[in-house]
Amino acid sequence: MTEPTPTTPTPAPAPVLANTAAAAAPTEAGFSVDAGATNLKEAFLGYVTRIRGGEVGALPAVAGLVLLLVVFSTTTKIFLTRGNLANLPTQAAPTILIGMGLVFVLLLGEIDLSAGTAAGLASAGMAIAVNFHGNLQTQLKGGMFGAYIVVMVLALIVAARERLWPGVIAIVFGGVVLVTHIGSNQVLAILLAVTTGTSIGILTGFLRARVGIPSFVVTLALFLAWQGVLIQFLGAGNSFPTQRFKTINALENTNISPLWSWVVLIVFVGGYGAFTLYTSIRRRAQQLSAQPVSIVVGRFAILALLGAFSVFFLNKNRNPNKGHVIRGLPWVVLLILIVLVAMTLLLSKTTFGRHLYASGGNAEAARRAGIDVPRMRIAAFGISSSLAAIGGVVLASKQGGVPADAGGGNTLLFAVGAAVVGGTSLFGGRGRVRDAVLGGLVITIIPNGLQLHPNVGASYQYVITGGFLLVAAAVDALSRSRRPT
């Protein structure tokens, strides 16, 4: 093994070992601890070793994405047109957002089958609020309004008992919007939907973690129940429109101006590049393990190229008809980027994230380390349903309203599929928020591309989507079995 950087002892004091290991400390010079891969070759070999060891990461999803792009762009003429490609992010958005939430639950080795209908229910709260000047009380008859408040109060009690303060704040905020009829403001109505999701999730988590019902059963029951509540809210076969409400409608149907699209790209991709590069250089300077600068720069360059190409492409008019011009980055892309960055930071830079991974990797070890694993479960379900609610809002924006079957059908299954195809393990402990983004794109491209083949029936969409999911789950299971334990 080549070791160009000598691991001299860092000048930092070692108070912990001052009394026990002072005598042994000078031996550190002979202690071959790495400073990470130091060059490209080592980094590449390390990557190959990890893949062979079952740590496949984003590889299958990226490979699937490339494969689908190649197949559809060579076999159809329309796939590569602006109008169609620009549809992908908006079509994928609800799946991606619900999937990002599910990553939290999957990280614990749990499942949330109710995320779809919870999303629909949360968005129904929003739709009723904006349609009835913030007054849900008159629309929700037969004690439904009271039940709504009771659910929120119960969730509040659970959140307070578990010391989940962000949840407490969110639920109190949502409760205020609910009872003071200020939900006619669209932003407040959207936040009402999100906090409704938070309440639902915290109660789900409580049933799982403190009552001890397996998550499959809890969320299956709630999946059915929320469907019924949704019909009660809206009336069977009914639908509340959201199209005329500009902010809500804007999410999926309007675009950021070309100039601001570039700004978004520069802020996010540039910020990512600057942050990773800074981290790499600083850590190396401190003789900590760090990724080689060449890898960091290479990854940034690829992202920047892809991003620049996409923005350039999306900034061209994609309306085939004469008349008004459609161009720019869809607003929902910005929303997804914000959620992606926030949740990624939460998982990778905070004790909460660390403890979530630990609880999913080995609950007993986490418990012995003093982590309140049931509390982590409740928090994970709370986050999952909150993000699902955002997905529900986006879904409403896309469909132009909230129908009585919102979030039903395959909504949830596609979202789980997105997370799993992206590389999140169903066994817990392994996964990232970005998995849902990659997987969501794969899951969306399949029907998008297949519908352009007139001779391939809709039946194939399901079979092929199912096939992809199966392959992803197989990769997950096999990679798990290849590990030493």
Binding site: T20, F31, G53, L288, Y357, E364
Partner: protein
Amino acid sequence: MSSTPILEMRGINKSFGAVQVLHSVDFRVYAGEVMALVGDNGAGKSTLVKCVAGIYPMDSGEILFEGAPVHIHGPRDASALGIEIVYQDLALCDNLDIVQNMFLGRENLTSVRTLDEGTMERRARQTLAGLSVRTVKSVRQVVSELSGGQRQTTAIAKAVLWNNRVVLLDEPTAALGVAQTDQVLDLVRRLATNGLGVVLISHNMNDVMKVADRITALYLGKVAAEVKTSEITHAQVVELITAGRTGNIGLKPAEAAQSA
């Protein structure tokens, strides 16, 4: 060698229902020494350890830490005193790396309350270096990639990191191959050299004879003998474990027979 044991247990009795598992057990560990705790299955080794850990309450008896009586009512009390137990199943998270495991639940934070990876990584390395560990390639290796010996090393290093005074190791070599066993035994020896009181619970007499300074043999819930390793043979220890006595060491013949 200091004359006051760092950890001493006096007259420990413990029953589960009608079954008395520990009969006025005396046990002591000195700083800088490895004390082996041996005994057949059911002799009460684990029960004794769990009493120290605060997992089981004792029926009677007292625990002294550095000569002063202490009360251990839960695992937190034990940790607060600086007593750490490395259980056989190690309790490591496979999906986290060595640093993350060593600091799990006690992470260092930066001024803005995010994880301070730099400090944690440096401290982890210093700890491993202080134990002269050379078997671990990188502190950023994920535990699932580690061998059994490396895992054991990680678990022991985790116990040392927190400035513990007494480390109890439950069968640390049970699942290991020959070379790895040697590495872990070296590590156990170094813990004592670094001034910790070490308790080694083991079935393997070769390990015990190789690394322990003293041996406490339990026989059906009683202390058969506490002897210096240098004053006893391999065969005698086995006899203590299986019969409770050997020659003029151990329980009185009547007592041993009655216990059986």
